[in-house]
């Protein structure tokens, strides 16, 4: 008996041994502590336009503001002792606020994705503007607080020359196009301060500058019929002014360039040859257009839209060519049911012709040349935002999520087809972090993009 007990004892040892090892079984990692390198993020200010402000789905609203790349960057900066980042939030329960061009009475709200039935009775998903929950008075209620000035100075629809414009918050400058109600709302002094002066007065230790898109976008979004593209010399001067002022006290920063319009779903969603017709419709259109002798013909299937182009010929219309854009704001019911682009040539304001595209793209390329040169001159971090958007257009995969620049489906752009959704903002944040780490030797971790939403579907 004695022998049996002794021999069996070691087996019973296996049980506590096993339990002991199981408790210590959980794998552990040595997670590196983020290093700030030469970044001092104690006072970070962000200068920019829509993307910096966190504008999405056609409006500025709380949720989108909270995921602007500037705010996400400020959150990551907290890992390297970054300071507070004050954001001029709109109310959390607001449907969002956006200015209707030239209108100082009413405002727009954000869009949401809903099932819509078109003029042909076909139901499909599409964006629908919500009713505004604010009136225009929202903008004139100034919320500046000198003890907690706003770090996020991204003002939607800001051109480069507006950044240093004193009185950009003064409605008296509206007729000259140098008034912005978004700035009026947060200006330290609506009549005498500028975005730049409000930034410099905070004595920033770090800044981000992502500006320049609006210097072509006014022109591009009007189909090339209104607004002007900011001349390069003026653009260059203002880039220098802004960067010189921001760096005069030794602040470091990051500068981004701007995306080409060919990367934006607003311009690329509706195909130039989206006119799909049957034989009878083709015959009918041919019988009307052929006698004019201006080389407009139709076949079964997809055809280029007919657009107004006064320079084209005596009649002032022609068919589109492959490298031209129809804007996303074209009334689709008019196209589908009321012969827009077929019997009725598409109005100029919904079309960017090859010439207009060329003007826009040339300006963007020149601006980008200046932005990168200016960043290099001052040894600032530089983000090739243009390449980032091109990469999205090509298609990318993040942790198993396939993303591209398609409208709604692509998962990166918001419902306005121009600005990014939270996933896009998170991806952009990581581009900024990579550039900052590269330039300043910091090891700021990237944000986890999977924590951010794409478009919500009903």
């Amino acid at each position: 008996m004695k022998r049996k007990t002794n021999s069996f004892l070691p087996i019973t040892f296996l049980i506590p041994l096993t339990i002991g090892i199981m408790i210590g079984c959980k794998p552990k990692f040595d997670i590196p502590t983020p290093d700030n390198g030469s970044v001092d993020a104690s006072r970070y200010v962000a200068i920019g336009s829509y993307i910096t402000a966190g504008y999405a789905d056609g409006a500025l609203y709380y949720e989108a503001q909270s995921v602007s790349f500037a705010n996400l960057l400020a959150e990551q900066f907290k890992l390297i002792d970054g300071g507070n980042f004050n954001i001029p939030f709109v109310p959390q329960n607001s449907n969002g606020v956006s200015v209707i061009a030239g209108n100082t009475i009413s405002i727009n709200a954000k869009s949401t994705l809903v099932n819509k039935t078109d003029c042909k009775g076909i139901t499909a998903l599409g964006p629908l503007k919500l009713n505004p929950t604010e009136n225009y008075g929202f903008f004139s209620a100034n919320i500046y607080n000198s003890s907690a000035p706003f770090n996020n100075l991204g003002i939607p629809n800001t051109k480069i020359f507006h950044v240093a414009f004193k009185g950009y918050g003064d409605v008296a400058n509206n007729p000259s196009g140098n008034f912005n109600p978004f700035y009026q709302r947060i200006a330290s002094n609506f009549a005498t301060s500028s975005i730049l002066s409000d930034a410099v007065n905070q004595n920033p230790t770090f800044f981000s500058l992502l500006i320049g898109s609006e210097d072509v976008m006014g022109f591009a979004l009007s189909g090339g019929i209104s607004d002007t593209i900011t001349p390069l010399s003026r653009f260059n001067n203002h880039v220098d002014t802004i960067i010189n002022n921001l760096t005069k006290n030794g602040a470091k920063g990051v500068v981004g360039n701007i995306p080409d319009i060919s990367s934006l779903p607003y311009f690329t969603t509706i195909p130039y040859n989206g006119l799909t017709i049957d034989q009878a419709q083709a015959d009918q259109l041919n019988s009307l257009y052929t006698p004019l002798g201006i080389n407009i013909t139709f076949t079964v299937g997809s055809n280029p839209f007919v657009i107004i182009d006064t320079a084209a010929n005596f009649f002032g219309f022609r068919q589109m060519s492959e490298n031209e854009y129809i804007l996303l704001n074209v009334p689709l019911d008019s196209v589908k049911c009321y012969s827009y682009g077929s019997l009725i040539p598409m109005p100029n304001k919904y079309v960017l012709t090859a010439n207009e595209i060329s003007l826009v793209q040339t300006a963007i390329a020149n601006y980008n040349g200046k932005l990168s040169a200016a960043a290099q001159l001052k040894n600032l971090a530089f983000v090739d935002v243009n390449s980032f958007y091109k990469q999205i257009k090509t298609g990318m995969v993040y942790n198993g999520i396939s993303l591209n620049a398609q409208f709604v489906k692509g998962g990166v752009f918001s419902l306005d087809g121009l600005q990014l959704n939270p996933v896009g903002q998170a991806l952009l944040t990581n581009e900024f972090i990579k550039s900052i780490n590269f330039m300043y030797g910091s090891t700021i971790p990237q944000v986890d993009v999977t924590k951010y939403k794409g478009i919500s579907f009903p």
Partner: protein
């Protein structure tokens, strides 16, 4: 203390040549063999010979029923290289089991019949909710059962041959989140579930050229597990349900061939040593494909490259008879992973590994015996998957304590 020193010395000498094949292979068979690093092709110790070498089962002198279970406690964690965020698995305890029955018409007869039922492949990996890789995988449950009726024939006192027919039955359940959210912020989810079956065989030769040395050679065939009638279920926002129709799918999972050369060596009357060399044909697992019955523009058939490579595997162990009824085992193994760089997935965050094993056995009288074993291993693998771009370091710790009861008659 004397025998302990011997065992430790033994292990140190043999370490450089231990291998063990990995992937989603379980390799938990026979407590004694498990305790010896998984070697046993050339040692006839018990009914687990039906698995390790059907050619050796005929050398068992008695009928035997041998039933064992080895709960697997595995915990994986992931450190995202871009964000420094971590995630863990909360996988349930795996319960691989093995049951062997060996019978002869007489104890002395040359022909033995056997039936082995075991779980050679399978695991359940469940990652924590909302982890950063959830669009690649949230859960994979794979269970494979082999039923192996076997005949073993002793040609003479030095040579035995044997073969078993394998019928394989399995279940697979793969889940991941879909990056589409509804208005309440809920993400979509896909569940692919199916049953699979396949056929194969397990054959072996046992040869004892001298009284001290034994040699075993076995071949376990590839088994093609086919999922013919799987069910795909998608939870997506209502407006997208037409894009993700629930329906059938087909898929297949090849279980690799394994060829083994084993050596047994009777060092003393009390000490047995074993060395097994495996060749595992993992190259056959090159693609994980799902063919959906109802395709839409959003739901296309998928083909994910796995590109496993063939691996060699070595295992080694020692069994020491302390008394007539009581024995202790030690073993080690070093395994090269079949998963190549760029192809590491959260399903099987595999890596090269060293297994440490140990075990004890005791005879209660002449007919009843209990064997216990324990296996420990730790894995670490850093990779960026070329399909999902999931990038980071996986760590896995595994501890598998097992126990088996043998009835010999």
């Amino acid at each position: 203390m004397k025998f302990n020193n011997k065992l430790i010395l033994l292990v140190i000498i043999l370490v450089p040549s231990f291998y063990k094949a990995q992937g989603f292979q379980v390799n938990l068979q026979g407590q004694k063999q498990q305790a010896m690093g998984g070697a046993g092709t050339a040692l006839i110790m018990d009914g687990a010979a039906l698995f390790y070498n059907p050619g050796g089962a005929c050398f068992l002198n008695k009928n035997e029923i041998n039933i064992g279970v080895t709960p697997v406690f595995a915990k994986s964690a992931f450190l995202d290289a871009n964000t420094n965020k971590t995630a863990e698995t909360k996988s349930p305890v795996g319960t691989p089991f093995a049951a062997y029955g060996v019978f002869g018409l007489k104890d002395s007869s040359s022909l033995k019949f056997g039936l082995a039922v075991y779980t050679p492949f399978g695991s359940t990996v469940q990652w924590e909710d909302n982890w950063m890789g959830r669009f690649a995988l949230t859960r994979l449950e794979l269970k494979v059962f082999f039923f192996q009726p076997t005949i073993s024939y002793k040609i003479n006192s030095k040579l035995g041959i044997g073969a078993g027919f394998v019928y394989s039955y399995g279940k697979v359940n793969l889940q991941k989140d879909i990056p589409l959210i509804d208005n309440n912020g809920n993400y979509g989810h896909a569940t692919l579930e199916g049953k699979a079956s396949g056929l194969g065989f397990n054959a072996g030769i046992y040869f004892a050229p001298t009284k001290k040395l034994t040699i075993g050679l076995t071949y376990r065939s590839q088994v093609n597990m086919k999922v013919r009638d799987g069910t795909a279920t998608f939870k997506v926002p209502a407006s997208l349900s037409e894009n993700f129709p629930n329906g059938k799918f087909t898929s297949k999972l090849p279980l690799p061939q394994v060829a083994t050369l084993g050596f047994g060596f009777k060092a003393t009357n009390k000490l047995d040593l074993a060395l097994d060399i495996n060749f595992v044909g993992w190259k056959v697992y090159d693609t994980l494909a799902f063919d959906y019955e109802n395709n839409t523009s959003s739901l296309l058939d998928t083909k994910s490259a796995r590109n496993y490579k063939n691996t060699f595997a070595f295992r080694c162990g020692a069994n020491y008879k302390i008394t007539k009824n009581f024995n202790a085992c030690l073993g080690m193994a070093y395994g090269i992973t079949p998963v190549q760089n760029g192809y590491v997935t959260p399903e099987t965050p595999d890596a090269n590994r060293i297994n440490y094993t140990a075990g004890l056995g005791y005879f209660f009288g002449k007919q009843f015996r209990v064997d216990a074993s324990v296996l420990f291993t730790a894995l670490k693998r850093k990779d960026t998957n070329i399909e999902t771009n999931l990038s980071g370091t996986y760590k896995t710790n595994v501890i598998a304590p097992g126990i088996a009861a043998l009835y010999i008659f």
